[in-house]
């Protein structure tokens, strides 16, 4: 079950943009070469009962595409979003999102110190790493995230939790944004990973 990212353009919008870019190719402009494919994959995830709510621990394995990596090394900050949603199953309708958590981490290369800085945009906490892998590993960790309070759950309903991660294209500089939308090299979003919540 996939759903579009909140801040991203809908599918129709992407198709339109693709048409626009296609039209613009008639002119002298050209697309920068696509890089290697990047990916967000859920390496490990665990849902456990807390005292008053369900809690999630998860680790994403993040691999930047070459395009994203090039942008990063050229000083463009990347925002990585980790998104958790609690769904209430509805018999005839789409599932309703009853709770949502999002962790956004900004990844940036610091040229002077030759380090990668990861700043948690929710907390403002920042750490530096000498190597990109280390920074990505740090950025892909969700620890003890509150998913859904027990009191919000109804007895006669089924609930599920889903999880995904991806690059926030809208935070990219404007000129890159269009490429990121239409180029598959920038598409690093993971699919939704979903678990049913046991009673």
């Amino acid at each position: 079950m996939n759903q579009a990212h909140g801040r991203r353009l809908p599918v129709a919008g992407r198709v339109l943009l693709l048409i626009v870019v296609g039209l613009s190719l008639v002119g002298p402009g050209q697309l920068p070469a696509d890089g290697g494919h990047g990916a967000f994959t859920v390496a490990r995830a665990e849902i456990r009962r807390g005292e008053s709510d369900w809690r999630l621990d998860a680790v994403f394995s993040i691999r930047l595409s070459e395009g994203a990596q090039e942008a990063l090394e050229n000083g463009v900050p990347l925002v990585l979003d980790l998104q958790v949603q609690a769904l209430e199953k509805q018999p005839w309708l789409w599932d309703a999102v009853v709770a949502e958590q999002k962790r956004s981490r900004q990844l940036q290369f610091h040229a002077l110190s030759r380090t990668y800085l990861v700043r948690d945009l929710n907390t403002g906490f920042q750490r530096s790493f000498r190597y990109l892998e280390e920074a990505l590993q740090y950025a892909g960790v969700l620890e003890d995230v509150s998913v859904l309070g027990y009191e919000a759950m109804k007895d006669d309903r089924q609930y599920a939790v889903r999880l995904r991660g991806g690059l926030d294209i809208e935070s990219l500089p404007t000129p890159v944004r269009l490429l990121a939308y239409v180029s598959s090299a920038w598409d690093m979003d993971s699919n939704w990973h979903q678990w049913r919540l046991a009673r």
């Binding site: 002119g27 090039e70 050229n74 000083g75 040229a111 750490r127 269009l178």
Partner: protein, 736 residues
């Protein structure tokens, strides 16, 4: 607001929206904070505008194609205008687009300079070099601090750490276990409860037996030098600790270094964004171009349609006018030349309609007058004929045919002179007209005598020259009346008057003359000598005889002039004929009188005495004409009307005598017209009078046997037959 304004409004709104959207997008392309976030949506909005405009253009092209296929009015003009508008807009826009792109590509490239890039890299390297001195100092200091820490007893470790930090001026000093756990820590900022932990990679460097020194931007606090050195413990536990020290770089150096770093990063980012930026600008420009071109094409369609609309309307209206529909009015859409044209057109159609209505009314009036005139002419007993200036027959009424005995209408459009070729008896009539025409008399009157199939005919002609305008000018209208019957009646009346006067004036002195002669005779005859006796006897006898003859003649005149008292009754003509014939047969006449009477009774309404006199006169006339010939033969016959059976009865008396001369035929029924040496000359005149008293008709002709034939038609009795009168059309006189 007029139609033009209303039609333009959505177009202007769409253009304004697109312009705003494009300007916002252009702003957003510059990475402005205001619209940067909206860039994608703006792009989407413009793309949607592009699709809408494209759809509009495609719809318009399809519409125009269908119009051209249908060969609709104005389609060609619309196509030409659209092509012209499109060409006029696309060419300059494309030129501007091309040069804009060139400027764009080159302009963006000129932002970047290899020397600046190298200078920035050098500046960064310089910053690093400057910081490296500080880092090496920090490393040495940290190594010394590690030695101090290694000597510290575990109980006072935290306190010593604090002391060392304070003494060394470090921002943070932390002792970590071999597994990375924090054993003791001290920080200058009391708010930093959680020490800044090294990454696993840094710790891994120590595990490999070395130390770590590096710059570390910590949050917003600026640059820090991070040093990690192993603490070689002298204690029994062989665990290798790690001492991490964070030293802040001097504020000035930090600011300068950050400034260099920031500039370098920004430049690097810009350099990296060069291609996407070019692409983005190109895309924006291309969208503007395509939107402009599409908008121009659409506007071209709209403008062309609006321009052509009045022309098309006018073309359709002109076609309608050509088809005779003058009611078409066009809406005046503008005050320009087209509006003037439309107003003029409306004026023209209005006037045309008015003129047509007037012409229609006039035509109706003329037709009415013509119908009236035709009705009048048709009911006139006078013949009317019109000739044009060259003598060609232009019109004739029905009475013309009756009066002339020739269907003049069959000669319409042909010269009147040609009529004489076929109907020679009309020559005098045509001559009179020609003569008066050649004399140029505007008003003339003449009496013409014709000798046609129905005998002598007298026409009273009056001619008037037409003074009108146009083709009829110089023509003539000829009115003619058949006055034959009138003249005849006048002549008859004159004769009647003569007879009456003769009877009155002459009869009175005759008796005294006769008595005087007889007295002379009685008194003097016996006294006379033989020779005188003879003279007186002959003279008085002559007087007496002549007086008797004169009396007889006067009586005949008296009879002719007598006003008849006809008492009509139904009688059988055949029976009457037989009775009269019996008298003649009984008298021992030498002439053979043959009767060919019909077996059916021929009933007529007549006065038996007058009819009997009629028969006597006819038989006497015939017998006298035969003059005692040995082969004399008189045939008397009756028959019912051939062309209208039952309507009349025809009585014919034929003889085999000398017949009539041609010039006698017209006057044979007048008093004292006789071809015979004997006779009073009143016999046939009285016959005619009796026939007329009975509303009949009489004709004298030459019989097939060569003699004379008197033919009489009398109206059949209504009791026996229907009322149809005596048809005169079948009656003719003349030689066969």
């Amino acid at each position: 607001m007029n139609r033009f304004g209303i039609g333009m409004l959505p177009m202007l709104v769409l253009f304004a929206l697109l312009l705003v959207s494009l300007s916002l997008m252009s702003d957003a392309t510059h990475n402005s904070e205001r619209f940067g976030e909206m860039y994608s949506w703006l792009l989407l909005a413009n793309a949607a505008g592009l699709v809408v405009l494209g759809a509009l253009v495609v719809a318009n092209i399809i519409w125009l194609y269908s119009q051209k296929r249908k060969q609709a009015v104005g389609a060609k003009l619309t196509t030409r205008l659209v092509l012209m508008f499109v060409l006029m807009s696309v060419v300059p826009v494309s030129v501007v687009y091309y040069f804009s792109l060139q400027f764009l590509q080159r302009g963006i490239d000129t932002w970047f300079d290899v020397r600046i890039e190298e200078a920035l890299e050098d500046a960064l390297e310089l910053s690093r070099a400057a910081l490296d001195v500080r880092l090496r100092d920090v490393l040495r200091l940290t190594e010394r601090m590690a030695e101090e820490v290694s000597d510290s007893p575990p109980a006072t470790l935290s306190l010593n750490i604090y002391d060392i930090r304070v003494r060394s001026g470090a921002a943070e000093l932390t002792l970590l276990g071999s597994d990375g756990r924090i054993i003791a820590s001290s920080a200058a900022e009391m708010t930093d409860i959680v020490p800044n932990q090294p990454s696993s990679e840094m710790l891994q460097t120590l595990h490999d037996g070395g130390s770590y020194i590096g710059l570390d931007p910590v949050g917003d606090s600026g640059l820090y030098a991070r040093a990690l050195v192993p603490v070689l413990s002298s204690r029994q536990d062989s665990e290798i600790y790690t001492l991490q020290a964070l030293f802040s770089v001097s504020e000035r150096l930090s600011i300068l270094a950050e400034s260099v770093q920031s500039a370098f990063t920004h430049y690097k980012e810009l350099a990296y964004l060069r291609k996407p930026l070019k692409f983005s600008y190109t895309l924006t420009l291309s969208i503007i171009l395509v939107l402009s071109v599409l908008a121009a094409i659409w506007a071209a369609f709209q403008s062309a349609r609006r321009l052509v609309a009045p022309v098309r309307d006018m073309a359709e209206a002109t076609r309608a006018v050509a088809d005779g529909d003058y009611s078409r009015r066009l809406p005046v859409a503008s005050d320009d030349e087209l509006g003037f044209l439309v107003r003029s057109f409306n004026d023209m159609t209005r006037r045309l309609a008015k003129a047509r209505d007037q012409a229609r009314r006039s035509r109706k009036q003329v037709e009415g007058q013509r119908t009236y005139l035709e009705a009048v002419l048709a009911n006139l007993s006078s013949g009317v004929m019109s000739l044009d200036a060259s003598g060609v027959v232009r019109a004739a009424n029905s009475a013309a045919k009756q009066n002339l005995g020739v269907d003049i209408k069959a000669w319409l459009g042909r010269p009147l002179a040609d009529v004489a070729g076929e109907h020679i008896f009309l020559q005098p009539f045509i001559d009179v007209i020609s003569r008066n025409r050649s004399k140029g008399r505007h008003l003339w009157q003449a009496e013409v005598s014709l000798f046609g199939a129905s005998g002598r005919q007298v026409l009273m002609c009056r001619g008037t020259t037409l003074t009108g305008v146009g083709s009829r000018s110089g023509g003539q209208v000829i009115v003619f009346d058949d006055v034959t019957a009138l003249i005849q009646a006048q002549r008859d009346a004159a004769w009647g008057e003569v007879a009456r006067r003769l009877a009155h004036e002459i009869k009175n002195p005759l008796t005294p003359i006769q008595l005087s002669a007889e007295r002379l005779r009685r008194r003097y005859l016996d006294r006379m000598e033989d020779d005188e006796f003879e003279v007186l006897d002959r003279a008085t006898r002559t007087i007496v005889n002549q007086v008797a003859a004169m009396k007889k003649m006067v009586n005949a005149f008296s009879e002719y002039a007598r006003v008849p008292h006809v008492s009509l009754e139904t009688l059988d003509l055949n029976q009457l004929v037989r009775e009269v014939l019996d008298l003649y047969r009984g008298s021992g006449s030498r002439s053979a009188i043959e009767d060919r009477l019909e077996a059916q009774p021929a009933n007529i309404d007549g006065d038996a005495g007058r009819i009997r006199q009629l028969l006597h006169n006819l038989l006497k006339n015939a017998l006298e004409a035969l003059g005692g010939r040995s082969d004399a033969s008189v045939v008397i016959s009756t028959q019912a009307g051939a062309d209208a059976p039952g309507a009349y009865v025809e009585l014919c008396v034929d003889d085999n005598g000398p017949g009539f001369q041609a010039d006698e035929l017209d006057s044979i029924f007048e008093p004292y017209v006789s071809s015979k040496p004997k006779g009073s000359g009143l016999g046939l005149a009285i016959v005619k009078k009796i026939v007329e008293e009975h509303n009949g008709m009489i004709a004298a002709e030459t019989s097939p046997a060569g003699g004379a034939r008197i033919r009489i038609r009398l109206q059949a009795s209504e009791a026996g037959h229907g009322d149809a009168g005596v048809p005169d059309g079948a009656f003719s006189a003349g030689h066969d």
